[in-house]
Amino acid sequence: MKKFDKNNKILVVIPARNEEKTIDKVVEEIRNLDLPVLVVDDGSSDGTATVARMAGAEVISLVHPLGTWGALQTGFRFAMWHNYHVVVTVDADGQHSPIYLEKLLEPVISNTVDVTIGMYPERLSKARKAALFVFRYLAGINYYDLTSGMRVYGPRAIKLLSSEQATTIDYQDIGILLLILNNGLNIKEIPVTMNNRTHGKSRLFNSWFAVCKYIFYSLLLSIGKRKILTFNQSKEK
């Protein structure tokens, strides 16, 4: 597999909570590409931090759990402090294969786009697809895999997402995409395939309460922060 140029200053950020069974393999696969890995441990009660460190990652253990986006933003802030130009985010459950990183990194490194998203909507259930269709329509955006955690962010996106403006957001998907688009940055979806989760369950959809909270929150964000069209864009429409 291709190793990446260190001059590009790429950092791979993995938010993790109770993922000791899968995190080592995920870290090792990325370390084999010669990329630095930062695992942000979001209040795990198992050995996630130790296992990740043993596998070669730098680990930041949050002093108070902040959820997936809070953990990811810690990674963005770390990247800003250490002058990384590109941040790659992948899940800790082993669903994202690093073989697609080259494909996702290329447009960001060449400054063609600010953010790339690994798109694999086939993994979504019919109910989730229907919900995302509604959010897409309400938010006025045309991206298919809004919940994909496999993304690459360029320098402008890193600066924006480590700002206080992004701190009020709770989830990595619609809120973050709308923030990026409303600030004039561009996003490209790139088709990938993802593996099935082998251990644990999704943090986003781990209970009916969490699902309802997510739907309500996303509906509010989709309507309230709908993509702002400039005068020229609205005339073109």
């Binding site: 680990v59 253990s61 949050l62 902040l66």
Partner: protein, 122 residues
Amino acid sequence: MALYNIITAILGLILAAGIFILIRKDYLHPIYSLWWLFIAIGALSFGVYPKLSDILASKLSVGYPPILIIVVALVLIFAKSLIMDIERTKNKCTLRKLVQEVSILKEELECLKSQIKQIEKK
């Protein structure tokens, strides 16, 4: 002085005194104490002079004077809870940033400590 006058005056005085004590004992931040000072003065004024609501209601053409106090109180409660939610959002944002930065600094401190240990061993 009618009995209801005495009761409203006592209630107004108790509320005002309670708020003044809280402000003096620093249980309330000076910014919040301004709001509560305003409430205490209002409670004291309407408690001691209940006729005040009749005078204000007639000036504002409100037919049923007691409703004026209720409406004003509701508006103030609504405004206060809105301000509190704005404050909570700001605090949540600050807290998240603090947690993130303290966590990063903690990790960097650990790294520095282990580097110092390695240098000392050499």
